[in-house]
Symmetry: C2
Subunit: 261 residues, 2 copies
């Protein structure tokens, strides 16, 4: 079974939000923990699976309102482990993808704390499942690239558009809603056609989410139409042309009709 001793830390992927997309291992780890430090991006349904006797500590970061900075989170985790707790650090998605795992791993290792990772379903996989599409297509979409559009506070988005504007790739932009106009303009300026299929997926995997199928030049309109303040993922590339809009999204998918099906 899972190896979880007093003083251990597990960085656990909570997946995209749907508690059904938690792994069996993650579920067991949150049952064995004595304390769970969790992000603002962890789904409520996932948090509901944590047993009542486990101490819950929100350390949520969300665009624009950081409740704790990274070094404070690192310190909280380390202190709990040194006090002999069984620590779960629950992170939205996969801990290894745009989740600042390295800082927490290093902080633990510097104190001799045993720290392990339990992977989670990342948002791009969940968004593809929501849209009934593959992220790769044999011969057509042979590369899959993930970037984040979440810039440090006060910094402009600095992505290498020339390298990303590849018609044979699928591009997944994490935390992409606010940056949608830059993403669209940057990729088109770098040569990607304006009619490249494009999807904006809010809160992938959750019934409260929404999907917009559109094209690259109209992406900024889709981002404006999207009303939620939750996280959003943008998918760009020929593979998105095979996406199918779920029924639940039909009423809000006002840009879907812009796309020739």
């Amino acid at each position: 079974m899972t190896d979880f001793a007093n003083g251990d830390v597990w960085l656990v992927g909570a997946g995209p939000g749907d508690p059904d997309l938690l792994t069996r291992k993650a579920e067991r780890l949150i049952h064995e923990a004595t304390v769970v430090f969790y992000d603002a991006l962890v789904g409520e349904g996932v948090l509901a699976l944590v047993p009542p006797h486990v101490r819950m500590e929100p350390v949520g970061k969300r665009s624009g309102r950081h409740s704790k900075d990274q070094s404070s989170i690192d310190r909280l985790i380390v202190e709990a482990a040194l006090e002999g707790e069984k620590v779960v650090r629950l992170k939205g998605g996969d801990p290894a993808i745009f989740a600042r795992a390295n800082e927490e791993l290093e902080a633990c290792r510097a104190e001799g704390i045993r720290v392990s990772i339990c992977p989670g379903i990342t948002a791009a996989s969940a968004a593809a499942a929501d849209l009934g599409m593959s992220l790769t297509l044999r011969g057509l979409a042979r590369r899959l690239t993930f970037v984040t559009a979440h810039a440090r506070a006060g910094e402009v988005l600095d992505l290498d558009w020339a390298a990303l504007a590849d018609p044979q790739a699928t591009l997944a932009v994490y935390m992409g809603k606010a940056a949608a106009p830059h993403v669209s303009a940057g990729l088109i300026a770098a040569g990607l056609p304006g009619d490249t299929p494009c999807a904006l997926v809010e809160q992938a995997s959750l019934p409260t989410g929404g999907e917009f199928l559109t094209r690259l030049d109209l992406l900024p309109i889709a981002a404006k139409t999207a009303l939620g303040d939750g996280p959003a993922l943008i998918l760009i590339g020929q593979a998105v042309g095979a996406a199918v809009l779920p029924q639940r999204a039909a009423s809000i998918a006002s840009t879907a009709s812009l796309r020739q099906r």
Copy 2:
């Protein structure tokens, strides 16, 4: 609960191999199925979770010995659904990443069959967890790219090395063992330094797997040293420099000492 009617098809991600890394949803779907078509890459521990009353149909493809071609698999799935079965198509990893999902989705839709995707943990996430590392590093490894080194039979590997040789990216090469010499030579010729940290992970998440930490110029040696015939993933980039070799790999990780820690 899960919506699974007679005549429906679910493409289900089996994850990297460890049955504990199956999602709760995938576990439920294989319990509700009447037939499961599965790949050679699906872990034995995952197959052991399928209840005895469910019919198991191997349609395994493995490098060099394809037991069924893709169109035969598509037809089997479609026929089972049209006969009113509850069909699970169980795929190693995530159905949306290098798994030929599009062919199966289109075959089902052409027959009016309702087809859905349940995402799975992809090998790159599992390999990063095995190595205790993040695939992305703030400011240093800002992009994560997945490619497959599995070429069509008789074709040479045709990857855009110039676009992939990015010192600020992490590159994950799926099915990469046989192509390791080409990957190493291609990236170095395109300008990536020979001492770029590199890992070869066989059978990520499984106790029978192995990990090799090395550097890009020595990657071919690591690939030769790796003895298993299971699938292997190659991770390349500065993020790999933070990887920690698990104890279970120590005895076979002969190239680990080549790396200055």
